[in-house]
């Protein structure tokens, strides 16, 4: 684990007014950090506030408390540095594939002329394998192709971070697999920092360097960070042959099935700032508590 914190979520909370007065906290005092070029996946049950965390990171939502620091700066609102790939692809149906990507490109580089915008957009359309479909409208595309356009649109603005909210959950298994391959390839090639929400354990194991496990809401906490023990050059098809695969998968599934409900009672002294990192070996997973050096680092980051 590198000490650098490219993304640092610091003590954020989200509270909503309750039905009978008072406030209901979806989560409180949540800390999470990621290094540059890392791929992070959040797994948790519905209602644990995963999407809220992503929306706060995107700037679409504001935390009730706390701050998010990206690349040394506290974020304020949305930014072209943080691209979002939406679950429902969110393409503009009145624009063509090229038009949708070009819309993002012109939003970032307002003084570019038409030809330059087109060439730039075309590069990313080619990258996601949609060459030849530039002039189709979203209604003429399959679900997988639509999401490819969503990915091209997000990548085309060359963001510092890519945020994905269950991007493949609406797709069939086969399409999902191919798109996972594409995303992994692109992220490895470009060194893209990515933050993704998913329900799919295998998707997380295939894509992520770090898997963040969240307990059930309301009052959800980040329970553990699982470091992916699989090698960088892992392939989707032989993932399950890796000796560590079942260890890491069982650990996550166990967490989702039982420990996510009882975590708060089981671990009374859980420190949200020092979330245990799980390193998985061939035998039993071991929990390593990190040294308490977080405080000084985050202070430095803010100062910078």
């Amino acid at each position: 684990m590198t000490p650098e914190k490219f993304i640092s979520i610091e003590a954020i909370a989200k509270r909503y007014p309750g039905a009978s007065g008072g406030e209901i906290a979806v989560f409180e005092n949540l800390w999470l950090s990621m290094a540059r070029g890392e791929f992070g996946c959040v797994i948790g049950h519905s209602g644990c506030g995963k999407t809220t965390v992503l929306n706060i990171l995107a700037g679409l939502d504001e935390p009730s408390d706390g701050a998010v620091i990206v690349d040394g700066q506290a974020i304020e609102g949305t930014s072209l540095d943080r691209a979002v790939i939406f679950q429902s692809h969110a393409l503009l149906p009145w624009r063509t594939v090229l038009g949708n990507v070009a819309y993002a490109v012109t939003s970032k580089w307002r003084d570019w002329d038409r030809a330059k915008v087109k060439a730039h957009a075309q590069t990313f359309i080619d990258l996601v394998g949609l060459t030849g479909s530039e002039h189709k409208r979203p209604s003429e595309l399959s679900g997988g192709m639509k999401q490819r356009v969503g990915i091209a649109r997000a990548l085309s603005i060359t963001p510092k971070i890519m945020l994905m909210d269950e991007p493949f959950s609406a797709l069939d298994a086969l399409t999902r697999g191919t798109l996972q391959d594409e995303v992994r390839r692109i992220c490895l090639e470009t060194g893209q920092t990515a933050f993704m929400i998913t329900h799919d354990v295998d998707e997380a194991i295939y894509l992520a360097d770090k898997i963040f496990l969240m307990t059930n809401g309301p009052g959800a906490v980040l329970a553990e960070i699982v470091e992916n023990p699989l090698p960088k050059d892992r392939g989707r098809t032989d993932l399950h042959r890796h000796p560590y695969y079942y260890a890491v998968r069982n650990h996550i599934v166990d967490f989702l099935v039982s420990r996510s409900k009882t975590f708060a009672a089981d671990v009374p002294g859980h420190d949200p700032r020092n979330v245990p990192v799980v390193k998985i070996g061939v035998s039993e997973p071991t929990i390593v508590t990190p040294p308490r050096a977080v405080e000084t680092q985050s202070a430095q980051t803010i100062a910078r």
Binding site: S79, L80, F86, A90, P93, S107, K108
Partner: protein, 279 residues
């Protein structure tokens, strides 16, 4: 299957039309009962009394008269005798002008209402009260303040077409999918550009539907308005021919009002299809 359905529907339509014409023809063939009278007295009476002809024109009378009108649509023999083309032209021009003014007012205002919950709430009571008022109820007030019957008719068209457009625009703008707004937000698109590149295209089908409702209402109202203000227009023509007791011309006018109304609706329907994109 689809083509055969269309064909069968066309056959039924034609059969219904022929049946209607047939019944109309039979019903207006003549009364038969003719009283004997001196030739001098007969000259004073109409054809109904002397020849037993029906007082209601039959389809052949209407057809012949219609052909006559279609041959000379733009003649002008003074204030009370103008071609149907001229009369319809006046009506369409009035509707067009009033409707255009309504578009200019309703769409920007609707945008404002749709985007700002404050304005929405603040204007709501006014809209709720003004909307159900019959447009013709404004006529005396318009005549009194504008002091021009032609402009008053245009004002009445304006006031009747403004509401459906206003409400539909406001609704369409307020109901733009949150994700599309979020796309614009994550791309740091400014308010003005967002309004034109995301909200307007997204709300366009709803806005056009409002415009389509409006043009229908405007065409309904213009006939009544022209009956009141007089002078020119298809509504005036209907009333004038009623005063002339020319039922044939009244029927022809009714037919043409229907045809023009349909054409206006079709034009707007086509525009609506042009801006509607399936997802």
């Amino acid at each position: 299957m689809n083509a055969s359905l269309r064909l069968r529907a066309a056959i039924v339509s034609i059969a219904l039309f022929l049946a209607f014409i047939g019944i109309w023809h039979i019903a207006t063939r003549g009364t038969g009962a003719v009283a004997t009278m001196t030739p001098e007295y007969a000259k004073l009476m109409g054809l109904t009394a002397t020849a037993g002809k029906s007082a209601m024109p039959g389809p052949l009378d209407v057809g012949a008269k219609l052909w006559e009108h279609l041959k000379r649509p733009f003649y002008d023999n003074g204030p009370n005798d103008k071609g149907l083309g001229i009369q319809l032209g006046y009506s369409i021009a009035r509707v067009g002008l009033g409707y255009f003014l309504a578009v200019i007012v309703a769409i920007p205002l609707g945008f404002l209402i749709g985007m700002s919950p404050l304005i929405n709430k603040a204007l709501d009571p006014f809209i709720q009260i003004l909307k159900p008022i019959s447009p013709l109820a404004w006529m005396p007030l318009a005549l009194y303040t504008i002091k021009d019957s032609g402009l008053s008719a245009i004002f009445v068209i304006f006031i009747c077409s403004v509401w459906p457009m206003l409400l539909n625009t406001a609704f369409g703008v307020a109901a733009v999918r949150k994700e599309w707004i979020n796309v614009a937000r994550t791309l740091e698109v400014g308010t003005i550009r967002r309004a034109f590149t995301v909200i307007l295209p997204a709300a366009a089908p709803t806005i056009l539907t409002g415009m389509r409702i409006s043009i229908g209402i405007a065409w309904l109202v213009i006939v009544a308005a022209e009956m009141l203000v007089g002078g020119t227009g298809i509504g005036y023509f209907v009333w004038n021919e009623w005063n002339n007791l020319s039922i044939t011309n009244v029927i022809i006018a009714i037919l043409l009002i229907g045809v023009v109304g349909m054409l206006l609706d079709q034009v707007l329907a086509r525009f609506t299809r042009m801006v509607t994109f399936p997802e």
